[in-house]
């Protein structure tokens, strides 16, 4: 009798397929980074031609490298890339209205140009402009991401100010005070709250929270679209997240610690706040960070309630468009694939992806690094 281990081809094939299924998730991540990355690169390298409102004052032969332009219009500096019809030129010297150029830059053909041909200048979105400016207005070529990031940070900050105290209190109550029966009522309610689609929350923000804020603070102070209302409702949305993650952390604290605390004469509050919460602080911190990440990525609430138009403001009662809100708005129309708008979606998306990814990895790291194993 042959007792050797039998090779089973079928089993190996199945295992191979299952591995591929698991490995697909890696492909998804690579796909996200690759697609977002390449399109975002296009955003930073794509030339945009802008009319300078200048014309050349004489006709220009193919061999000439100097010409005079009209006085009006935008200023042109050394090193700028300019264009007459389809021929591109690199400006090497500027003296008043006299330009010295290298003809036929970027592999274009030097050709004859008539007097009065308009001069165009290339603009490119630089990293410096993207990360250094606060005005976002694609129509006039302004791409300062801070207008959008600021609104995102504001809604997230408001959301976390609502969700952290409430969520943590709920978690403490559920884990330290509540009876079994009360827990069995409250937990499903929180689950329902977490399961409601965000577009419904958006509706809630616009038709309930905004009128409420306008009633409290005055119609003149609070605009119809504002970041405060969106932020508060995002806060309500993430309360279940904060409370359930924190409660898991609190429940994992062994009872011995509580009993020891009571034995020393501590009250219930002192036990909860000075013994149980510090012991579970890593889990609570992780919940806090995941909640921020969720708030940053939240889309429909801000798309509906926080306004359509980038606006760099610190006033929570004013309209301001967030990163996610902007992506939704400009992709809602028919978007041409070869436009700067299309590429800008990917640049914003990539930034958003890394912001949330770093927060999520950070939260995992906190749990791993600071978790106390009892």
């Amino acid at each position: 009798m042959d007792l050797k281990k039998k090779r089973r081809i079928g089993e190996s094939i199945i295992q191979g397929f299952l591995f591929l299924a698991a490995a697909l998730s890696i492909l998804v991540t690579i796909g996200i980074v690759y697609e977002l990355g390449t399109e975002a690169m296009l955003f930073f390298t794509r030339k945009q031609w802008e009319n300078t409102n200048k014309v050349i004052t004489q006709s220009l032969e193919p061999g000439f490298t100097e010409f005079i332009v009209s006085e009006s219009g935008a200023t042109i500096n050394e090193g700028d890339l300019v264009r007459l019809r389809s021929e591109e030129m690199l400006v090497v010297n500027v003296q008043d209205e006299r330009l010295k150029v290298v003809r036929g830059a970027e592999d274009t053909e030097p050709v004859f140009h008539n007097e009065g041909t308009t001069l165009e200048k290339a603009t490119q979105v630089t990293f410096l402009e993207f990360f250094g400016k606060t005005e976002w207005n694609p129509q006039i070529g302004k791409f300062g991401i801070w207008a959008l990031v600021n609104a995102t940070l504001m809604t997230s900050l408001i959301a976390i100010t609502v969700a952290l105290p409430v969520g943590l209190s709920v978690a403490i109550y559920l884990s330290e005070y509540a009876s079994h029966r009360f827990r069995s009522i409250l937990k499903p309610i929180l689950e329902v709250l977490a399961g409601i689609p965000t577009v419904v929350y958006g509706y809630f923000a616009l038709t309930f929270m905004t009128p409420l804020l306008r009633y409290i603070f005055g119609v003149d102070v609070v605009e119809i679209y504002n970041t405060a209302s969106a932020g508060i409702v995002i806060g309500i949305l993430i309360i279940p997240l904060v409370s359930s993650m924190s409660e898991d952390a609190l429940s994992a604290v062994p009872n011995g610690l509580r009993e020891a605390s009571y034995g020393l004469g501590a009250t219930k509050l002192e036990t909860s706040l000075r013994v149980v919460v510090p012991s579970a602080i890593s889990g609570i911190a992780a919940a806090f960070i995941v909640a921020i990440s969720r708030a940053i990525g939240e889309t429909m609430i801000v798309a509906i309630a926080s306004g359509a138009g980038p606006n760099f403001t610190f006033n929570p009662f004013k309209a301001a468009e967030t990163m996610t809100g902007h992506i939704v708005r400009i992709s809602g129309g028919d978007l041409s694939y070869n436009s700067l708008d299309y590429n800008s979606i990917f640049a914003i998306g990539l930034l958003l992806f890394f912001m949330t990814l770093i927060l999520n990895i950070f939260s995992h790291w906190i749990v791993k690094r600071f978790r106390k194993v009892y």
């Binding site: 698991a22 998730s25 689609p197 616009l206």
Partner: protein, 424 residues
């Protein structure tokens, strides 16, 4: 603490110390009680928010509206016969008198007047000639408690209009297609779109998700690659949904345009707009729920007791036989519950579908994976985003439909779980 003990303690310390300590102690207990109340009150926030949200939706979904007709039906009567009793021929004449010739031709090219029933023509007259419009809406609360003020407003501002109580959610709201007139708009197109997309995303992600979970729980050793896969899945679950939308736009709509628009299958419908199809949307949502399905299925498989596997190996079964015949059936209720929860997430998802390119206005039903789409949440978003108030009411109606759909999904999840767990 009885009296003698208390007496002993009192004797052991000075009088001031004793009173100071008891005072401090009662203060501490008072503080503890106050915070007990605060913690308890914070749990109310969730309940209050949920109640406010639901009440707000219902408040907008029902209420009085002021209905104004372009032409009063009485004015259309011919020889004292009202339009309700009029013959089809007379109704066609009325229609011809009041709408443009081009529109009449369009009606006729759709279906000739002979083919149309009297009912159909009558509805056309109501829609196109009488053309009722809602000029003002009141919420349910106002309709119930401020009837006098509403009536006063009616007599002052809307003298031409009729006051009727309107429920924005009706059977016809579910069966009618989308329309630019909020009084005739329905959500049938959107519901069908949602169902199609869910179907495709499940067909795509259920086998892959469960396969991945089986691999990670049953086969994977603690190697570097497997650890990366596991970490990666956890991170993917935290990626904002809109990022998946952007991925879907670049990958399915653009790069795989030929497949998702159906061109490689010889499907050339001029109506399909370059890859912005049900298939693209379904695959995008499939990627979105994949990590959720994997994580839930992993939990379910983890919960299967090891003795079951060992008994199976002991009987001489191979690894796959053990998994297929014992592990998966035991884990099935958990896997199904997790999958249904993932589906309810997908049903409510809006942002990725906007990015992938949901249509803003379609009135025809989707007829396959290569047609344009809209879904229920998209519809709600578009109606909510309109400036006219009347669309808020109709959005509230759509929200109720969506919430009922989600609620029944979750009920199915619970039922399935109960049924299977009893059998096993």
């Amino acid at each position: 603490m009885n009296a003698t003990q208390d007496e002993e303690i009192r004797l052991s310390m000075s009088e001031d110390d004793y009173f100071a300590d008891t005072k401090k102690l009662s203060k501490r207990h008072a503080l503890s009680k106050i915070w007990h109340v605060i913690f308890a009150a914070s749990t109310l926030v969730g309940i209050v928010a949920l109640t406010a949200l639901l009440l707000n939706v219902f408040n907008n979904a029902f209420g009085y509206i002021a209905l104004e007709n372009s032409i009063q039906p009485e004015e259309l009567a011919i020889d004292g016969v009202s339009i309700e009793e009029m013959s089809k021929e007379n109704l066609v004449t009325i229609l011809g008198d009041h709408v443009s010739k081009g529109l009449m031709r369009r009606f006729e090219s759709g279906m000739t007047w002979e083919e149309r029933s009297r009912e159909n023509v009558y509805n056309l007259v109501l829609e196109r000639v009488v053309d009722p419009k809602s000029v003002a809406q009141w919420t349910l609360y106002e309709s119930l408690f401020k009837v006098n003020e509403i009536q006063q407003e009616m007599t002052e501002k809307y003298t031409e209009a009729n006051l009727i109580f309107k429920s924005w959610i009706t059977p016809s709201f579910i069966t009618l297609p989308q329309s630019s007139n909020p009084l005739n708009a329905g959500v049938r197109t959107a519901i069908l779109g949602s169902l199609w997309i869910i179907f495709i995303s499940i067909v795509f992600s259920f086998p892959i998700g469960v396969g991945a979970a089986v691999y990670l729980q049953e086969y994977a050793k603690d190697s570097f690659v497997n650890r990366i896969i596991q970490t990666n899945i956890n991170n993917l679950a935290g990626v904002p949904s809109i990022i998946y939308g952007i991925l879907g736009l670049a990958l399915f709509v653009r790069a795989l345009n030929l497949i998702t628009s159906g061109a490689v299958f010889g499907y050339t419908d001029p109506m399909t707009a370059n890859g912005r199809t049900i298939l693209s949307a379904g695959l995008t949502l499939g990627l979105l729920i994949l990590p959720l399905i994997i994580i839930n299925a992993q939990e379910a498989i983890k919960a299967v007791p090891n003795s079951l596997r060992q008994a199976s190996y002991g009987m001489g079964a191979t690894r796959w036989q053990t998994i297929w015949n014992h592990v998966l059936p035991s884990a099935l209720p958990g896997i199904l519950t997790g999958t249904i929860l993932a589906i309810s997430r997908a049903i409510g998802e809006t942002a990725p579908l906007v990015v992938v390119g949901a249509s803003t206005f379609i009135t025809f039903d989707p007829d396959g994976p290569f047609s344009k789409f809209t879904t229920l949440p998209i519809q709600i978003y578009q109606w909510t985003a309109r400036p006219q108030d009347v669309f808020r009411n109709i959005a509230a109606g759509a929200i109720i439909v969506l919430l009922i759909l989600l609620l029944s999904m979750n009920a199915i999840a619970v039922l399935l779980r109960n049924k299977y767990s009893r059998r096993l």
